[in-house]
């Protein structure tokens, strides 16, 4: 599935739409593929209107701004585009951003799924509180998140560490702001999952690991990958929480969004748009890759 086309701009809307998507495709893949193929031929006037409204809305909010970014980026021609992207400082920033985002997404895939599992399958004191707390990274303005992280991992850290202005700070900030995505996409699917199937697998002699691999994982895969895509896209565009934390040191802790901001401040909008378009392409590649992985895993079902 391709939640909200995974665009950077759409990410604010994404959590809810992804959760929705994940809920509706909770079952095996083929269950939702069938009606999708049919719907092209059975468009009633009412559903046609619905489609029209949806597409108009989507165009206004996403497609048109995206096109504007691309038009802006191409304003200076290929040379300007190329120059913007081959600046070693920009390349260093891109490498750092994408690298850390991949790392963080990897951690989230494991930890997010585990947290969702605990929240759905286990009963414990404080569960409801945890439910609420999970969403705090969504609710907190990112600059506040940065302040919180700075007091926790900065020079006056109660933990006795000082990770401010290092790459660890970038990693931790990304981790903080992306935590809820996979939890929130996996949770509803896990809720819908029938435990009887697992029991049946067990009664047929499957080991727990086999059950997980062949029964549970294929059902969760679409939700995990869509959450992972969101988490990745959120990370590569992160800025606010890093303002105070990362130090913005070129070649060391400077992330791509700071480069974009610098281009804007220098009145080089073409350069900024070129960089933004590269982030878009990276996001697209990751989303497609994740979707392919999800299809492959789901096929085991």
């Amino acid at each position: 599935m391709t939640p909200s086309a995974g665009t950077v701009e759409a990410q604010q809307l994404a959590p809810t739409s992804a959760a929705e998507g994940a809920t509706s495709v909770g079952g095996p893949r083929n269950r939702h593929r069938l009606p999708r193929a049919k719907s092209a031929t059975t468009l009633t006037p009412i559903s046609g209107l619905g489609l029209g409204i949806a597409l108009t809305w989507f165009s206004l909010l996403v497609l048109i701004p995206l096109t504007a970014v691309l038009v802006q980026a191409s304003a200076g021609g290929w040379q300007a585009y190329w120059d913007a992207l081959t600046s070693p400082q920009t390349l260093a920033a891109l490498k750092l951003t994408v690298g850390q985002a991949v790392l963080v997404t990897g951690v989230n895939i494991i930890m997010g799924t585990a947290i969702a599992w605990v929240l759905v399958r286990d009963q414990f004191v404080g569960k409801r509180l945890l439910e609420v707390v999970i969403d705090i990274p969504f609710a907190l303005p990112t600059i506040v998140a940065g302040l919180v992280l700075l007091s926790l991992y900065g020079p006056s850290s109660p933990l006795g560490v000082n990770w401010a202005n290092t790459r660890i700070a970038v990693f931790l900030a990304f981790l903080f702001v992306t935590l809820p995505f996979i939890v929130r996409t996996v949770q509803p699917v896990l809720l819908e999952l029938e435990q009887e199937v697992e029991e049946a697998a067990a009664s047929l002699g499957a080991r727990r690991s086999t059950t997980f691999r062949l029964v549970i994982l294929p059902s969760l895969a679409p939700a995990i990958t869509s959450g992972a895509a969101l988490s990745f896209c959120r990370a590569i565009s992160e800025y606010g929480s890093l303002v105070l934390l990362s130090g913005n040191l070129p070649y060391s802790t400077e992330v791509a969004s700071v480069r974009i901001l610098s281009s804007v401040e220098g009145d080089k909008l073409t350069e900024a748009a070129a960089l933004a378009s590269i982030l878009l392409v990276v996001a697209l590649i990751v989303i497609i890759t994740l979707d392919l992985i999800s299809r492959r895993v789901a096929r085991y079902a």
Binding site: T16, S87, P155, A164, N165, V243, L244, G247, P250, E265
Partner: protein, 346 residues
Amino acid sequence: MSIRQLARVRAVAALIAAASTALLTGCVGGAATAPDAAGTTTLHLVGYAVPKEANNAIQKKFAETPEGKDVTWQESYGPSGDQSRAVLNGLKADYVNFSLEGDVTRLVKAGLVAEDWKSAPTKGIVSDSAVVIVVQKGNPLGIKDWSDLTKPGVKIVTPNPASSGSARWNILAAYQQVIANGGTDAEAKAYLTKFFNHVAALPGSGRDATNAFLQGAANVLISYENEAILARQAGEDFDYILPDATIKIENPGAVLKDANPKADAYLDFVLSTAGQEEFVKKGFRPVIAATPIGEVVGANNPASPFPVPPKLFTISDLGGWDAVNAKFFDDGGLVPAIQKATGRSQ
């Protein structure tokens, strides 16, 4: 969380979003269409955040003059460059107050501000300040001058010259002080390289840099005299040093071409000694020599808050902003090159 609960959360979120949108449009609508009550004039001020209190005090005094009677204000404050771009993109403004000349020049190029905005005696500048070195209370490292900043153990925080225009004053001060002390360009470049080797963080703006310093991310902050005084007025406990050689910061103010004529009267008032006094109280240096300087709380010496450094240079000593940006800050300039060298070695 059940799906129903999830839906409820989503509904609440949607409501909040709708409410804030309504609020936002309300504000914007209010700014654009506020119907003037009989006889009152609404002036729009767009400026950078630091001098907000000074501006408000000047407005209050202006209201007591015949021209300023019945003037009400719509104000917008934010980072200087962003504010300038907002005006360029249609934000209504009668009077603008930025931290850098370039932010006004941008509006001149767009035809929004008259070409001759610098023709007045102060050349378009409404307030001055100077780059200072901020250190921890009691100055434990014993820092006296720029040369002490490259000693072992010194960690500098200064705003990012790429993403914050006004951060450029600091870098220029660090460079040019070498020249002012009789050094060569090569020596100045060598100093700046050593300086960047000691930079621990380059936060996004001057205020972010102050916060990072106060959180202990570094033991030296390069800042502006008015910013240091203002923070001390607000109760922050640190010392600041005015180096013998430093740069004079000049903040411009301008009236837009199609502004209400009252805005011209306001600018005149800002440049009167009565207006300048309010800048002085907030730690800015006056641009009008005759301005009486009273006690400035927060200054090193409140009774004599603005000693003139022996080697105070200005942006025109460096050839003006266009030359400076090309030489230092644009791609291929000195600062990106130094950052490349020092960043790689870190």
